[in-house]
């Protein structure tokens, strides 16, 4: 029987040859990811359910990357880090990346890839909805809650429904003014925030395979904004080069059978697409930047797992080099690695850091920061009636802080161009 890539990964994890869509099956988990917000309650449930002397099923398969509330004076946030550290010590977890030390990495989804945990064909569960980011590596990744994560900690297994798949094909080479963010916002506008609920979103086509891993991660990251269980892209030489430069662990490559069944297929020609935003207050509230150009903004925010990777900052630098921003603009590298790259990666002979500083941007320390609002002292947090253009992934009311604020989700090109003009601006005007 023909299967999709997602079905084949499920079958491997269930020690079966074939799994049918709609079946509820038990999966063996390759990696469990958690962070400072959901780690402590997960560990509490684990201890309560499995007993005070219980040990996690496989310490090397638990990856703990604090990233949400790191640079804050909030005492409860500090306590959460203390609880992570204590559990990691008790359980002798080798893959704990402690905040405040040189082990600290930053935003978990990006650091997970940088550290070589994203292996094709494997199954990843994480206590964060954007765990689907890892699908860029031809693997299954999805978000779960604390109870499910605690169950995995004790047993190494979890039940999941085999999803139907939707296929999104992007034809043609990518134009220089388009980014992965524009592609996924285009899809969201078409299918809505529940258009893929409980399904796999498979991305394919020449434009997708022309993208670097950073951009493929952005596509898969926002599968959850359509309600998708996972986003997934087949492995090619770009994927293998990324993975092989970070780990020598073995992996298995799966691909969808040509005659696999899909719930639905969408075909786009990227030459016909334009830069788009998601207007307040929903990621599916799509509009072309041209149609809303001139809308005044009060802040620009370039960061997060969707918009704070090296490729995102290379895009922003194309706009910001030699220009100055006219609204407060915050640059938040996703990880310590990306932050270091800003100091050495060049665009037209100038480091990205210098370009951003000369443009008048402020560069924050790597973490999730204001993507999800966070404690009151979080850098870049929206206040009052702020109108923010942001490279983040979610813009429901209050997401970046203030319930009264409006957030326009956009590509790094659009966020940078709008920062320069102080109003929503199509990046083609400045490229």
């Amino acid at each position: 029987m023909a299967q999709t890539i997602t079905q084949k990964i499920f079958a491997r994890a269930a020690n079966r040859k074939f799994v049918d869509t709609g079946e509820n099956i038990w999966l063996n988990v390759d990696i469990l990811l958690t962070h400072d917000v959901c780690g402590p309650p997960t560990f509490d449930i684990f201890t309560e359910e499995f007993g005070p002397d219980a040990k996690v099923w496989a310490p090397e398969k638990v990856v703990v990357l604090p990233d949400h509330y790191i640079f804050t004076s909030n005492e409860h946030a500090h306590r959460n880090i203390d609880l992570l550290r204590k559990f990691a010590e008790e359980q002798e977890l080798p893959n704990y990346y402690d905040a405040g030390t040189d082990r600290y990495r930053g935003v978990c989804h990006i650091a997970l890839a940088e550290e070589g945990y994203t292996l094709p064909g494997t199954v990843l569960f994480g206590t964060d909805s954007h765990t689907c980011t890892a699908g860029a590596f031809g693997m299954f990744g999805t978000g779960i809650g604390n109870t499910d994560a605690a169950f995995i900690l004790g047993t190494g297994r979890l039940w999941e429904k085999v999803p139907e798949s939707m296929k999104f094909i992007f034809e043609d080479p990518m134009p220089e003014y388009l980014t992965a963010k524009d592609l996924i916002l285009e899809i969201l506008g078409d299918i809505g925030t529940d258009g893929a609920t409980y399904r796999a979103m498979e991305f394919d086509g020449e434009a997708v395979y022309s993208l670097p891993m950073d951009e493929r991660m952005t596509l898969c990251n926002m599968a959850i904004e359509a309600g998708g269980m996972n986003g997934i892209i087949s492995v090619d030489s770009v994927t293998e080069a990324y993975v092989r430069s970070r780990t020598d662990k073995p992996y298995e490559i799966f691909t969808s059978d040509p005659d696999a069944e899909y719930h639905s297929m969408y075909r786009y020609h990227v030459r016909e697409l334009e830069p788009v935003v998601a207007m307040p207050h929903s990621p599916d509230n799509r509009a072309t930047v041209r149609s809303v150009a001139g809308t005044a903004i009060t802040k620009s925010y370039i960061g997060s797992c969707t918009g704070g990777k090296l490729t995102d900052f290379l895009l922003a630098a194309r706009i910001l080099k030699g220009r100055t921003v006219s609204v407060p603009t915050t640059i938040v590298p996703a990880t310590v690695k990306v932050a270091a790259d800003l100091e050495c990666e060049m665009y037209e002979g100038v480091t990205l850091k210098t370009i951003f500083e000369d443009a008048g941007c402020s560069i924050a320390l790597p973490s999730c920061a204001a993507c999800l609002g966070g404690p009151a002292d979080t850098v870049g947090r929206s206040v009052d009636y702020d109108v923010v253009v942001s490279t983040t992934n979610r813009n429901f009311p209050g997401r970046m802080g203030s319930k009264k604020a409006g957030v326009y989700l956009a590509s790094p090109l659009t966020a940078a161009a709008s920062a320069v003009k102080g109003k929503l601006t199509d990046p083609r005007d400045l490229l």
Binding site: G143, T155, P397, K403
Partner: protein, 186 residues
């Protein structure tokens, strides 16, 4: 497990995401310390813009200022309830506030799983647009055996979709209780 849930309705619209159910700034409180846990009740649904809180009229907070629990026990909502982040703090907060069941047109996957596997609140689905038919404050009665909800204020009864595969986990009270009963934790 008792098979009747009775209480007042609290009506919301579509796409109620987890930041509206419990805003991210509150995720720092302990979920096990009894005193701090009460704060999750206090801030449950505090992220919903006030004009959309307690429909059709709006302007009705789920939890009154200064309180830690809600006067409402059954939440009625449109499609895609619980979309957004994976935070289990969301169904937890609803439970702490006193909610026992939700009836929505549909749910986001992670929120739905969290409700069921954590045994917090029962996520019923309705194929009718109940958020347009039920008013905040109406007295409702859910009959779990019959899969119906009766509006005692309006004297109407609506069918609910059966819980399907997950009914066993709901009846057990969560994934751990279910797994123990079925020897799945060995």
């Amino acid at each position: 497990m008792e098979n009747i849930i009775q209480g007042k309705a609290y009506v919301l619209g579509r796409n109620i995401d987890t930041d509206q159910i419990i805003p991210a700034e509150h995720l720092v409180y302990s979920l096990s310390d009894p005193e701090e846990v009460r704060l999750y009740g206090k801030y449950a649904l505090s992220g919903v813009p006030i004009e959309q809180a307690g429909l059709p009229e709006g302007g009705i907070p789920f939890v009154e200022e200064g309180n830690f629990t809600s006067a409402y026990t059954i939440i009625i909502a449109g499609p895609n309830f619980g979309c957004g982040s994976s935070r289990e703090h969301a169904p937890f907060a609803l439970k702490v506030a006193g909610a026992r069941a939700i009836i929505a047109e549909s749910y986001a996957r992670i929120f739905y799983r969290n409700c069921v596997d954590g045994g917090f609140v029962i996520p019923y689905e309705s194929s009718q647009q109940l958020s347009k038919m039920i008013l905040t404050g109406d007295e409702l009665l859910i009959d779990m055996d019959a899969s119906t909800v009766t509006n005692l204020t309006q004297n109407t009864t609506h069918p609910l979709k059966p819980l399907g595969d997950v009914v066993n986990i709901v009846q057990a009270g969560g994934i751990f209780e279910y797994a123990r009963k079925n020897n799945l934790m060995a």
